[in-house]
């Protein structure tokens, strides 16, 4: 009997390095001249995230410190850290997708070497870091803590 294959909740990298992913995100965002369109694009990215298992949408996977909910999970395979994530808010889910594009499938050393300053440089964090945060800064910290743990 064949079991239905479960889709992998962990994001496979599409860019060769974290730095290349950051550069590609910058190019993508620069295509839009209006923040409304930029957010529309970011929301779209969130919708394309691999499905996050419902069983993981619990307090154990919750990134604390935000009113919109953010959940994440990390798994080490072949010396690389693979990440899964989700949020109940659409823009935040899109930002989760950006973080995963940069960090998922990288070695712990590369993750530790990649500061999440790109969020601020692209104007993404400043907009959302207000009002007790959206959990994105906290998620970036947690990813880097996980990398330090596995390093």
């Amino acid at each position: 009997m064949l079991a239905m294959p479960q889709p992998d909740p962990f994001l496979q990298p599409e860019d060769p390095t974290a730095a290349a992913a950051i550069a590609a995100i910058g190019e993508d965002l620069a295509l839009f001249d209006d923040w409304m369109e930029r957010y529309q694009y970011i929301i779209e990215l969130g919708r394309k995230l691999p499905p996050f298992p419902e069983a993981w949408a619990d307090d154990a996977h919750r990134v604390p410190g935000c009113q919109s909910k953010v959940w994440m999970e990390a798994e080490k395979r072949d010396g690389r850290l693979y990440l899964a994530g989700a949020s109940d808010a659409a823009i935040v889910a899109g930002l989760v997708a950006l973080l995963l594009r940069v960090y998922s499938g990288r070695t712990p050393a590369e993750i530790i070497a990649t500061e999440p300053v790109f969020l601020k440089e692209f104007g993404l964090l400043e907009a959302l870091s207000t009002n007790r945060g959206n959990g994105i800064a906290a998620m970036a910290r947690r990813i880097r803590d996980a990398a330090a743990h596995y390093a």
């Binding site: 409304m36 659409a90 823009i91 935040v92 907009a127 959302l128 009002n131």
Partner: protein, 412 residues
């Protein structure tokens, strides 16, 4: 030609608020978050700056000219606050930092000092955390009970349930909002006070929102305690008012000890200053107190009739515009309501809505609005909230509605 000036000229009011001419992210600021904290008119700014530049010293202590002048300016705020609330006596005005401190003061001095273990405090299902947590702390420390009167589907206090919770005569204090910061609902203060008194309870109103929008008369309400905060009333942060009946304040022990609240101090014992000073330990927020006076005068200058009429028209316009947008649901449909409108947008998180509005220069609040139990009873995690002030225009509400219409398409 019509020679009669309009009752309320919003352009003239706006001109008195320097911040409203700011642009945000290249757009004209549309500030719809006044229920969290209101902007400050020139008169308040000038009063505080003027005091610092020309007339400042510590108060109630100095025997010198500057101290006496500053004391006079600070104490004039007490007269203004007494007038604003129609208090019988200026000594019934206690200065506090904000409504939160006022409620904590009552929970300590009246709750622990006068109430007996086994008595109950009755609140409503639409309280801000500041009117929930102090009573939980009192319950845990003093053995009082905490009762909650439910809110109906429309977002109004369920008066039958409220009365039933008073029936056993064990409620010592009713502590209730005069206007919900989430739903915009007013509570029927006179009826609440009458019912509370008929069952032997005192009554406290949290007027943080209500006093911004309508005239409050503590004698007509027949309240026992009433509090508000300055920063929502176009005044400074760090200054608020607790009004209470003189006989209650006289009977209540002080909460915080220190300078300015004593009559005499020896190592064996201290005696307390007269009301209200026995509740005002330490150097107070002098400049903020002076700023609050300017804010009260500013409100009086415009007049509550004009303010209430302007805001009623705005609220009606906002409810009509927002309700007409597909997918927008207004939370709370109380008959008697003011200019605070909470809403949700289908398939969108309130944070998404607020983030996208912010990109267009529109400031709203999103979240649980410090009223988590209410949100839970509504089955919601969060709402977006637009709140109006005397400077809000119908055009700003149109900008909000038009932008929401655009945002809706993101989530359709």
């Amino acid at each position: 030609m019509n020679a009669i000036p309009p009752l309320f000229d919003v352009a003239r009011v706006r001109a008195q608020f320097p911040i409203l001419s700011q642009t945000v992210r290249g757009k004209q600021l549309v500030f719809l978050d006044s229920a969290a904290s209101a902007q400050k008119p020139r008169a308040v700014i000038d009063a505080m700056v003027g005091a610092m530049e020309t007339q400042y010293a510590n108060i109630h202590r100095g025997l010198h000219w500057m101290s006496e002048r500053t004391t006079d300016a600070y104490e004039a705020t007490r007269d203004a606050a007494a007038r604003l609330l129609n208090a019988r006596d200026r000594h019934e005005i206690v200065f506090v930092r904000n409504s939160t401190e006022a409620i904590n003061l009552v929970a300590h001095s009246y709750g622990r000092g006068i109430m007996k273990p086994g008595q109950a405090v009755l609140i409503s299902g639409m309280e801000h955390h500041s009117n929930i947590v102090p009573w939980q702390m009192l319950r845990d420390a003093h053995g009082t009970e905490l009762r909650v009167a439910p809110v109906n589907e429309a977002g109004e206090l369920d008066m039958a349930a409220f009365e039933a919770l008073l029936a056993d005569g064990r409620v010592g204090l009713v502590a209730i909002t005069h206007m919900s910061n989430v739903l915009g609902s007013y509570t029927p203060a006179e009826r609440i006070a009458k019912l509370a008194h008929a069952h032997g309870a005192k009554v406290l109103f949290d007027g943080s929102q209500a006093i911004v929008h309508r005239r409050v008369d503590v004698q007509a309400i027949d309240a026992d305690f009433y509090c508000f905060t300055g920063h929502k009333l176009y005044g400074p942060t760090g200054i608020g008012v607790l009004w209470a009946r003189r006989e209650l304040l006289d009977a209540m022990p002080p909460w915080m000890g220190g300078g300015d609240m004593i009559s005499s101090v020896t190592y064996e014992r201290s005696t307390w200053a007269e009301v209200p000073h026995k509740f005002e330990a330490g150097t107070p927020a002098i400049l903020e107190g002076i700023g609050l006076h300017a804010a009260i005068q500013f409100m009086e200058g415009i007049g509550y009739d004009a303010i209430a009429a302007h805001e009623a028209a705005l609220t009606e316009h906002a409810l009509a515009r927002l309700s007409a947008i597909e997918g927008v649901r207004v939370i709370g449909r109380a008959q008697d309501r003011g200019g605070v409108v909470s809403f949700t947008l289908d398939r969108a998180h309130a944070h998404d809505v607020a983030t996208l509005l912010d990109r267009q220069g529109i400031a709203v609040r999103a979240g649980h609005h410090c009223a988590e139990p209410l949100m839970r009873s509504l089955g919601l995690d969060s709402t977006a909230r637009a709140s109006f002030g005397i400077y809000t225009t119908p055009d700003e509400i149109d900008v909000l509605a038009d932008t929401l219409g655009r945002i809706r398409e993101f989530f359709a």
